[in-house]
């Protein structure tokens, strides 16, 4: 067999390799469908991180209401917790939920949204040194922290 006779086979082989490489590249660029149980695990770890931020704000509000810490130190602690919470929530909300996980997404984002609202209210009250606002925010923050704490059991 001559080298010339081998050429068509080689070019077919090359074309097949190129097509496979192109398909692999295209599949790597596509958004993965994902596994609903992994998505739920991500939701649980997100709510756990969010609980940490919200519980921090609850402690700050209690210490500030009892005049145990300075306004500026309380403001800084609440603002830092809020930034962390917003980042945590934003990362989760940016994830593409797999089919069959919409209810997990709905419930988790609701919990996170409630937490962000409660923490924002706390930040406003602390910065204004508004005692009544801080007491109201403490109720909302405590409720949100409890809900986030129970998320591993309550998420579908």
């Amino acid at each position: 067999m001559t080298a010339r006779a081998l050429r068509p086979d080689r070019s077919r082989w090359r074309a097949a390799v190129l097509a496979a490489a192109a398909a692999l590249t295209a599949s790597a660029c596509a958004t993965p469908e994902g596994d609903p149980s992994l998505y739920r695990d991500e939701a649980v770890s997100t709510t756990k991180a969010a609980h940490s931020s919200v519980a921090t704000v609850a402690i700050v509000l209690r210490t500030r209401l009892r005049d145990l810490t300075f306004g500026r130190a309380a403001d800084d602690a609440v603002s830092t917790a809020e930034t962390s919470l917003t980042s945590t929530a934003g990362t989760f909300e940016g994830l593409q939920p797999p089919r069959g996980a919409d209810s997990v997404r709905r419930q988790a984002t609701q919990l996170l949204s409630d937490a962000e609202d409660a923490v924002a209210a706390a930040r406003i009250a602390v910065r204004r040194d508004d005692r009544a606002g801080m007491r109201a925010a403490l109720v909302a923050v405590t409720r949100s922290a409890d809900a986030l704490d129970k998320a591993p059991e309550t998420l579908p």
Binding site: S45, K48, A49, H51, S52, A55, T56, A58, I59, V60, T63, D67, L68, T69, F70, R72, A73, D75, D76, A77, S79, T80, A81, S84, D149
Partner: protein, 409 residues
């Protein structure tokens, strides 16, 4: 009387100067997440830093030269360069973290974003490093750093269940909410925080700055044997208060602003004020030490004139390195990188660099050409060798654990 005062001052500054941003953040984080189940790592780390600081202090006192001044001469330029790159890289990362830590401490007190404080802190730091005498710099920040004793007082005032705390200490396990890989990762981080390379750089170079001689070995040993363990106890107090307040509440420490909260609960505003003063002194003092250590390491490797015991004009290249390092650190921090994240990575990379820092100390402390009759005794060599094995294991495990746990998550 003067001698007793000097010894007491040395011990107190060793205690106050022991804690830095790495110890503060890592101990607070570990306490809030693992309770006191990793307290044994702090004990192991403190014994390690005592062993190697005593060796490097003795080398400085007997030879009149800093340990790393001798590394290139004794071990050759290749090992000297490896030692320089590893140790100086980690020290520079720690320097960035310390400047960020000072800015964070001021942010807590003023509620003005830390990024705005970074250039101010850096300018103040550079002026201090350029103008202030070494003994003033060391004693003032070391003594004011003693304000961190407020964490031990807060622990006592919180009146915890001491039996439960002791049960945590002796549990040696990650608990229900963490995995063993996470436990091991934070063990490496705590070990790295206790044995940061700059501490021996600074200690041995400081000995030369203060003109230690053979007669000062006893005083140096008292500082090391009493001051460092008591400084380690301060680190444990930080971990303990976060274990008491944050662990049951499900709060994980991720910012410096959370760390004074247990003190606020126990002692109120006065406690918070003292804690913030302690944060400032500990981080500013450590920023001075790391900044000087970057200059020491490069100047000693290249054989330049170095130190604050000579006029800045006589050590121009040493001061230029410090100035350049400060400017680069500011540039890094102005990218808005989180200083706490820099701290967390610096302590892990510190663990990675430990063998290249501590092996040369052991070699030089055993060399009679430099040490005469003051070479290592049997105990120092047994402890040094055991710690080298531990350090190697920690260094090998550091990066795989970081990848496996995604930085401890």
């Amino acid at each position: 009387m003067k001698k007793i005062f000097a010894v007491a001052l040395g011990i107190l500054t060793a205690i106050g100067g022991f804690v830095d941003i790495g110890d503060l953040v890592t101990n607070a984080l570990v306490g809030s997440r693992f309770g006191l189940s990793l307290a044994w790592v702090v004990v192991v780390g403190v014994i390690g830093i005592v062993v190697f600081s005593e060796m490097s202090g003795r080398v400085a006192a007997i030879s009149g030269r800093a340990t790393f001044d001798l590394v290139r001469e004794r071990l050759g330029p290749r090992i000297g360069l490896a030692n320089l790159l590893a140790s100086m890289g980690v020290t520079f990362l720690t320097f960035i973290a310390e400047i960020g830590g000072v800015a964070l401490a001021i942010e807590i007190a003023t509620s003005v974003n830390e990024v705005l404080w970074v250039p101010v802190v850096a300018a103040a730091l550079w002026i201090v490093l350029w103008r202030v005498r070494f003994s003033v710099l060391e004693n003032v920040f070391g003594l004011v750093g003693l304000a961190l004793v407020v964490f031990a007082v807060a622990l006592w005032k919180l009146d915890p269940d001491w039996g439960a705390l002791w049960a945590q200490v002796t549990s040696f396990s990650p608990g229900a909410d963490n995995t063993w890989t996470q436990y091991c990762y934070y063990a490496v981080a705590l070990f790295g925080a206790a044995l940061t390379p700059y501490e021996v750089f600074f200690f041995s170079s400081g000995g030369v700055e203060e003109h230690w001689g053979e007669k000062d070995v006893g005083t140096m040993r008292l500082n090391v044997f009493l001051g460092f363990p008591l400084g380690g106890a301060l680190s444990l107090a930080v971990a303990a208060v976060t274990a008491v307040v944050f662990l049951p509440a499900g709060v994980e420490v991720e910012s410096l602003s959370q760390v004074p909260l247990p003190v606020a609960i126990a002692l109120g505003k006065i406690g918070v004020a003292i804690a913030l003063l302690g944060f400032f002194a500990a981080t500013f003092g450590a920023a001075c030490e790391t900044g000087l250590s970057v200059g020491y390491s490069i100047a000693q490797f290249y054989g330049w004139s170095w130190g604050k015991f000579v006029a800045p004009r006589q050590a121009a290249r040493f001061h230029a390195v410090i100035l350049l390092s400060t400017l680069v650190a500011v540039a890094v921090l102005l990218t808005t990188v989180d200083p706490v994240a820099v701290t967390e990575y610096s302590v892990v990379f510190s663990a990675l660099a430990l063998p290249l820092t501590y092996l040369p100390i052991l070699v030089i402390a055993n060399d009679p050409d430099y040490m005469g009759e003051r070479v290592n005794g049997r105990l120092a060599n047994v402890l040094g060798s055991v710690y080298l094995v531990v350090i190697l294991v920690v260094a090998v495990a550091a990066i795989p654990l970081m990848i496996l746990t995604r930085g401890g998550q």
